[in-house]
Amino acid sequence: MIPEPTLSHLKDRIAAADHPRELVVDVMFALQEHYGYLSDEAVETTGALLGMSPLQVEELATFYTFLYREPVGRYVIHLCDSVICWLDGAESLRDHLCRKLKIEMGRTTPDGLFTLLPVCCIGYCDRSPAMLVNRKVYGPLTPEKVDELLEKLKQESE
């Protein structure tokens, strides 16, 4: 269940909106924040809050990159694979991450800490190769910097 303050905050915003539906992405993000991903329940709650059917919410949830309809790890790593990062070695960085985390792209580590996803150009081509961890940007990256970061995140999570 979603905590009451979160819910009532959303309800207030929806009540104040000229067109409730314009908030659908915000509502999905808020519920994703709570569940860790956009669970079925979150889709249903979003629909109930905005007067949409779950399917209508799903039509949007499955469109966008940053809405996760499956459980993800505590840290979602989005590794940019578009052209500039690719020029600057995104592929070997990807291999490095996969090796290090012992998972394939698209997977989550068994400890539930990291999810590894490819993403298209994140607008940090001046800092390539770059990646996002929970939407915070890191770059230019080297394997060493990646290792350091992973280590730091692991420690933070303890």
Binding site: L60, I84, L87, C125, D126, L132
Partner: protein
Amino acid sequence: MSSQETKKYPSVLLQNRHPDRIATLDEYRRSGGYEGLTALLGAGNPKQAQQVLLDANLLGRGGAAFPAGKKMMTIAENAPFPRYVVCNADEMEPGTFKDRVLIFADPHQLIEGIVIAGYAARASHGIIFIRPEYEQAARIMEREIEVARSEGLVGRNILQSGYDMEIVVHRSGGRYICGEATAQINALMGVRPNPKQPPPYPTTKGLWQRPTVVQNVETLCCMPHILRNGAQWFGSLALTENGAGTKVFCVSGRVERPGCYELPMGVPLKEIVEVHAGGIKNGGRFKACLPGGASTAFVPARLYDIPMDYESLKQEGFRLGTAAVMVFDHSDCLVDATVNLLDFFARESCGWCTPCRDGLPYIRDLMKRVEAGRGSTETIEKIETMCRHMWSAYCAFAPGAVSPVQGLMAEFKDEVMAHVEQGGCPFK
């Protein structure tokens, strides 16, 4: 080329840029900020603002280069209210990061631009549509909008003029197509962000079926300066006859100093690369660049001296796009790079129309075969035909997607054929 002395150009949009913080409202004001708006509201003539923007030849900086003044003028006098200004801060064109830099440098410049555009269009709502990767920028904008509000620059009765405009930040869920204006309007309304072919145009029936002006961040950022200094001044900033204003070039790839450089419209490509971005990295040779993001065609070294403005590129059959200059050197396989670009487009297609949704994966598959040395002249013919047909897709996405492919075929056919003839990539 490093011997060439660095020319000093006026800095307009990035004049208040600091390495690690935003410019405050005070700083912005000290540089003349909100003077344009004050004068505009004082004169009380929205039409005049439209005219100034038109005279200034301010072309949309989001890629399509449509004249901003003309766009506003398409709103009928008696068109219904409320009207909307949408600030397109989606910036998902690969290689492009100027809008982020502009927001981080001087958020009030954008706020003033939105209010000016709003007044010119007689709009009461401004919405900043921003990509999720730019969460920090979204927060900056939210905070600075409140600052502006407390100073009477946004909200009710702006600068005691009687004009009201609210500005809100709308976060996207993240998809390239959301940058396309009509798709963005759908996204804002909470429906699937497929584009919507005009007519009706957004300025007639846009957001919530009301007149809506969609404008790129950089376009909006130019507006305060135009209103303060005049159309003529704006024109004089450019190095070329046809150009107007400055342009924020995002330089990336094989250069020493990737980054955003505000330079006069019409500055030669060579100067951008060699002087401002510090030249090709590791002593490499310039081979080609994508001049305006991933949906433009490769500009070959023979055009290294080309003046970078919309018109000059157009005359050579290219597009300035977002002016995201992505540089490749002699060691880069452009076929391979094109496969990467196709990966991007095939993944980001909105899935609405057949050519884009199914044709792009097809072209990618063919291109991969060529890259891997398994292509033939027939494969290449197929690619070329399909690319041609891609121009009959529903929106500008698909033509953009095949632009680099078509550029590759036009300018680097030898390199493509080398893959076929050698049965593999000559660069590996």
